[in-house]
């Protein structure tokens, strides 16, 4: 894919801000502001993971939805609620679970080990 924008990439820009928060802001703050700095670093790390994994995850999600014959999560949620996919419940549970795992890989990959 050819890029319009110059370097740094969006991911590299976010990474640079996150590194600055960690290097300079975190060490010169305390209490509430320091806590919110950590939250901000986590948010930016999440955005970096989404930029890296997003395209593949989007394709996999679309394939799972297509296999169940629905266009998006809203249609899937509605079909589950109305019982229209009850004859394929095993597939539905597997597909929804795979989507949740992908969301968690971006949102908080450490969560898988914290059980």
């Amino acid at each position: 894919m050819s890029e319009l924008h110059d370097v740094p990439s969006a991911a590299q820009l976010v990474e640079a801000v996150r590194e600055w928060l960690e290097r300079d802001v975190l060490t010169s703050t305390t209490g509430r502001v320091q806590f919110h700095t950590r939250v901000a670093m986590n948010v930016l790390a999440m955005v970096e993971r989404e930029l890296a994994l997003g395209p593949d995850q989007r394709a996999a999600h679309a394939a799972r939805l297509a296999d169940l014959g629905v266009a998006d999560d809203k249609e899937l949620a509605k079909a589950i609620r109305e019982g229209r996919l009850d004859d394929r419940m095993s597939d539905v549970v597997a597909a929804v679970r795979a989507s949740v795992v992908d969301k968690l890989r971006v949102a908080n990959p450490g969560y898988f080990e914290s059980r």
Partner: protein, 325 residues
Amino acid sequence: MTDLSRDSLADGLARVVGAPVKDLARLSGGASRETWSFSASGRRLILQRQRSGDIRDMGVEANVLRAAHTAGVRVPELLANGTADSPIGSSFMVLSHVDGETIARKILRDDTFVHARQVLVGDLAAALARLHSIDPSNIAGLPATDQVAQYRTTLDDLNTSLDQAHPTFELAFRWLEANRPESARRSLVHGDFRLGNVMVGPDGLRAVLDWELAHVGDPMEDLGWLCVRAWRFGSSSPVAGVGSYEQLIAAYEHESGLSVDPDLVRWWEVLGTLKWGIMCMIQTSSHLLGLARSHELAAIGRRVCENEYDLFLALDGRWEGLGVR
């Protein structure tokens, strides 16, 4: 809060407790209420008051605290309470101060609480057995709402306002409806019984706090909520991060003399996990809808998938009722 309004709060408090008020200090402020510490007549006390503008009445909670105290549940002593037309200017309660720790991560990790962690499941089970023995018909104003219906409506409203959907939550609602217990005991239910809402000392449980969500319902709701993964705070032990299901159920059965169906506890744990996911959506919606702009609240929206993952863990091997092989 300005010093002027703090001074007038101290004046109002002095009239309520009938003694000069010293060392009035704000401890915390949630979305709906504030907690203050102060001393009067040589005694350390706590003031809880509803935020101005919030019309909720602490009168029911005060009734619940009195009933719990009478039943022998360890709770702060209620010394005074009143409504918005009191000298406090909002609905309030004055409670005795109880020494100890409420922060879950400290209770679960600090050396101070090594012994407490050994006895806590037993203490929590005993407190639950005792509070569940209270006849709810003696407590005026106690709500009795159907939790599934209530959170169904809440989720529908959130899905509309945030323009999104959660297939996992729909699966969970289907599972809850398919496995809904036929008949259940009815009792007083605390409604938010977990680390964070109990005062713990090195010797174990000191007091059960935060009764604002108390209601009439199935007592197993409190046991299930105590097992929700979020309330393990990263610990691997399923019950409040300190014990096993078997320990909780055995201790509760011993204290209450009643038998516990583990599947019923699990049903309430699943509903509790779903509820917490919906509550996280509420938090992120207050950012997205502009009520309180905050990157912290924004980030919580992306943690809803943790609750979804927890639902799959709680339901692993339990999908039979929905035709899953």
